[in-house]
Symmetry: C2
Subunit: 415 residues, 2 copies
């Protein structure tokens, strides 16, 4: 069984080395790692084949097999991801503030890496390269715990990346992968205070809950998105149908997809018939309260549980409200702090919604699907934070850093 | 027994109300609360008397009795603290960034309150007013769990503050105090996900460890400070004695006091005799390695445990190193990420130390005692963070905020 203490100690040593790498050194290593992935694609695909065979034998559902599967173009995408990260600016060393105190102390607040970042994720093996790339560029060592279904693929990718680092004269312990699928090892991983500075779970609600429940190291909750769209009285019905369709169906299984619609009672007649038709064409099932079902037929009643559910499926809950305040209160009660939108032509209502809704990303007249590191222009992301500590919303390179204060004196003592 | 769910629900409702208060409203409430503390000092002192009597009966040590005790001047200091917080700028609403995406979305990153902050603290009843003031000014509701020793004092202060809020037309649930001393209640408090956005333990290492072990809500570790001073080869011996004395003895029981000295072997002869004499005068006991004991007599050998100990007492551990690198490695191994200093006249060594030491605050030629919200010019602080997530070092008003993204569009959907 993996000795996590030894692995953790190596990561701690690596973090000190990585913190002082120059931007050029990091970029060269990322480009070298990208080339290595391509050069070793045969080896990676052969190992991925083993995972796929095991998955098929174990009756893994087709959608999961698709996530697990690698091919040349997916490996090319992984390599391209590393090249894109190399092209992003290095956040480490940025001076955030400098101030001089009356006693002459010069205090500087400076961006530094977080240190050792642990990542627990599910089947997709491309996360192995992505997470390494982002953590590495921000000067962090990463310890990965992937799904056991993808273990052969992940080990192959880890080995290629470690070799690439060695060839650039950089410690391979910048990335390490926990091989065991034993639950007790995962549990120990969540409690490596003194070794792991931050743990990021990437996966479904169950995984995230398990990590939050069991971890003693700092955790960033990511991803669960019970995202709402509120259609205000003054909303443009055509724009509303267009945005709702996009937010619900453009990609169904993602955290920024819309799961629940909140509709001002006065807009029901104008909106619902056209919306229902459009949703029917996409085979979206509607679960709605009675006042909505008075206007459109063929949908089930919505329960409280529906309003609390992130379906990740062709299902949409709907709720009628009589005011903006009621909409905000409903959303704050059921959302997961991810992304919520108002569709309105009333400027004041837009501002009240932006101020009142408690979520990482609050939209006016746009699809919730834009909550994403690439769409925000961060270049890449490690996940979407739905908690309020440290970082909120899409987490790019800057969000993978901390800061330190350096204080320069000439003999100052405290009176 | 307190129903924490009800108390939590009230705090959640309060946080929505507090988030939209203006700076003026908050300042008026703080000044009103300050006046109320003074006007009700008789009542508060009478309740404090009950805690003092119980403490004396239970054989509470004198130092703790002193921390527990209130008098008119301490209540005046609490009121002055609230007035000072009123005078600080309001961090809420600050626009941190605005950027426009190629598709026309205008994304704004804006400072918002964290929401509901839980604070677990030990005997000092003044924390009740201080913590309320800081959390309130940053737009947060606060749920307090003080030590059972101070329960009468805390309840009196809470009641005065709640009444003051009511008189200003502000929800009194901006502050609530958990009355039970039952451990199961404290444990439940640490697991109020969905109600409490952040938990800050204020107290000794034992309290902090308990919270880190048991909490499922996000925690900021504060306070434990095994702070080091490294005396480099080129250090000025007079400045070194002056700074070391200050950092060790100016106030003995605080987290930014120096606990361990790391000395370059080449500076031992120049430094140690004068330093030992000065430490003797302050009755500081020295625990040192052999190479130091060769130079100065009358001190015990230092163990590994000594190097890892935050004494909070008139004891100082000492360790000899032969290089800057060895000093940095030793400090990174034993420090708690709080405050460490180098004393040197070598500019390059100073920079290498600042870059290499992994701590919230790293000093050159100054006492570690400056790690403090007031000394940093933050005006006040809720604690010193020793973790890397969210905030590091002294945590003032800004560190009690999060941010949200607001995104303004005109119909954008994701292609």
């Amino acid at each position: 069984m993996t000795d996590l203490k030894i692995l953790g100690e190596k990561a701690v040593q690596a973090k000190y080395a990585l913190a002082s790498l120059s931007e050029t050194q990091k970029n060269q290593a990322l480009l070298c790692a990208a080339r290595a992935l391509l050069e070793n694609s045969g080896r990676i695909l052969a190992e991925n084949e083993k995972d796929m065979d095991a998955g098929q034998k174990n009756g893994m559902p087709k959608s999961l097999l698709d996530r697990l599967s690698l091919n040349v173009s997916r490996i090319e995408a992984m390599a391209e991801g590393l090249r894109q990260i190399a092209a992003l600016p290095d956040p480490v060393g940025e001076i955030l503030e400098t101030f001089t105190r009356p006693n002459g102390l010069v205090i500087r607040k400076q961006r530094v890496p977080i240190g050792v970042i642990g990542i627990i994720y599910e089947s997709r093996p491309n996360v192995t390269a992505d997470a390494f790339g982002l953590c590495f560029k921000a000067g962090n060592a990463v310890i990965l715990k992937g799904g056991s279904d993808a273990i052969h693929s992940n080990l192959a990718i880890e080995a290629v990346l470690r070799d690439a680092l060695i060839s650039c004269g950089i410690t391979p312990d910048a990335i390490s992968l926990i091989k065991d699928s034993d639950r007790s090892v995962t549990r120990e991983f969540m409690r490596m205070n003194g070794y792991v500075d931050l743990l990021i779970p990437r996966g479904g609600a169950g995984l995230i809950r398990t990590v939050v429940e069991n971890a003693t190291v700092p955790v960033i909750e990511t991803g669960t998105g019970n995202c709402h769209i509120f259609v205000d009285e003054s909303a443009d019905p055509d724009m509303a149908v267009n945005i709702i369709l996009n937010a619900k169906t453009q990609r169904i299984g993602v955290c920024n997809a819309c799961e629940s619609l909140v509709i001002h009672s006065k807009v029901r007649q104008k909106l619902l018939p056209a919306l229902k038709k459009a949703l029917d064409e996409k085979n979206v099932q509607v679960r709605a309260d009675e006042r909505i079902r008075e206007v459109i037929g063929g949908c089930q009643p919505a329960t409280q549980e529906d309003y609390a559910t992130e379906y990740l499926d062709y299902i949409l809950s709907m709720k009628t409200v009589d005011s903006l305040e009621e909409a905000i209160a409903h959303i704050n009660r059921y959302n997961t702090g991810h992304s919520d939108a108002i569709l309105t032509n009333d400027r004041e209502n837009a501002e009240r919604f932006l101020a009142g809704v408690d979520a990482a990303c609050v939209y006016v007249n746009a699809s919730t699907r834009f909550t994403d590191g690439f769409e925000f222009g961060f270049g890449a992301e490690i996940g979407i934070s739905t908690q309020k500590l440290h970082a909120r919303g899409p987490m790019g390179l800057r969000e993978l850093t901390s800061y330190k204060y350096t204080i320069r004196g000439n003999g100052q003592i405290r009176e």
